[in-house]
């Protein structure tokens, strides 16, 4: 018996596109393409009970940055505008013993940051950002000078070398609670 022509009819796939479109639009709407960005920091671990006395650090190697409840900056005992903080920090880190009030060398330089409980988060992030910018710029300058390339374009070992010479030491003291 000859096979009937209508026996194996093709399934009408015309509406498949509609279904696919429907799903596509659903995923298009629910998708979030945003990448999370931020400033990474590491918290100090909680000190153990019997703590050895911390090593003495010469006052010249500490760059004291204070932020009060009114979002004002006091850097090394002097009021400062936030716009000058980056330059100030760079000068401090890159001093190499030239100015007796600033750091001996970048490896010893520590930035001490203390804020009030009333300081706004915006200001805090901005200060953190300026300090990070100071370090990044210095590392970049060194990278350009030594390897003729930007810091981020260097390979891991070269980055590590620069990082070791210019470690980012930002110490955060427990915040005060004045005027909040």
């Amino acid at each position: 018996m000859a096979r009937k022509k209508r026996g194996l009819q093709e399934i009408n796939a015309g509406s498949m596109a509609d279904i696919a479109f429907l799903l596509l639009i659903f995923f298009l709407v629910t998708t979030t393409m945003d990448v999370d960005t931020g400033i990474a920091r590491k918290l100090p671990p909680i000190p153990e009970e019997e703590q050895e006395t911390p090593p003495e650090i010469h006052a010249r190697n500490i760059y004291v940055v204070l932020v009060n409840a009114g979002d004002n900056l006091l850097v090394e005992g002097e009021p400062m505008n936030i716009n000058q903080l980056k330059e100030g920090a760079k000068k401090f880190i890159n001093n190499n013993g030239a100015n007796p009030t600033l750091s001996d060398n970048p490896e010893k330089a520590i930035i001490s940051l203390q804020n009030d409980r009333g300081t706004s988060y915006k200001m805090y992030v901005r200060v953190q950002n300026e300090l990070a910018a100071a370090y990044n710029e210095i590392r970049n300058e060194v990278a350009l000078e030594r390897f003729g390339d930007r810091y981020i374009d260097l390979n891991k070992s070269k980055q590590k070398e620069i990082r070791k010479e210019y470690p980012q030491k930002i110490s955060e003291a427990e915040p005060k609670n004045i005027g909040s």
Binding site: T31, D36, G38, A40, P45, D116, S120, Y121, V125
Partner: protein, 155 residues
């Protein structure tokens, strides 16, 4: 010549749309794979601050989020307008943070625990007091890698 054209008159043939589903499916699969569903509904208003020295966060699956900010408008009647902490899908208090970190850790592989990061998504207007308390709790929970969530932009 008739007004109505003959059906089997050879005009321009219709464009074949047979390949359309294939193209759409391709796009569909792309979005299905790349999509990340919003896991939490935000109960707090978060306008993260701007910064220039930002880094992309890697390994999103290893990041736990802490949201801080004033409750959204519809919640303000019952929760007030003071900044609050949100963990997962509910408001939380400070002492719940340690528990939260512990539960986040439980869900991950043991090898991955040292790489876990806590991202603090906080509103610009929040005072540092609450952030400091959160940081203190994180220190107690020994979850030391943190990330202040910021968006790109200059001042």
């Amino acid at each position: 010549m008739s007004k109505f054209r003959n059906k089997d008159n050879k005009g321009t043939p219709a464009i074949s749309t047979a390949a359309l589903p294939d193209i759409v499916f391709m796009l569909l699969f792309f979005f299905m794979v790349t999509t990340v569903m919003r896991e939490t509904t935000l109960f707090v208003e978060v306008m993260i601050p701007k910064a220039t020295e930002i880094k992309k966060m890697e390994k999103k699956s290893l990041v736990s989020y802490i949201y801080v900010g004033p409750p959204v408008k519809r919640m303000q009647a019952s929760f007030g307008s003071k900044p609050r902490i949100q963990l997962n899908d509910s408001f939380a208090t400070l002492n719940e943070i340690q528990e939260f970190i512990a539960s986040e850790r439980e869900a991950k592989d043991e090898k991955e625990i040292p790489y876990m990061t806590t991202s603090i998504k906080s509103d610009e207007s929040v005072k540092m007091g609450i952030i400091t308390d959160i940081k203190q709790e994180l220190r107690k929970a020994n979850s030391l890698k943190i990330n202040y969530s910021t968006r790109k932009g200059t001042y």
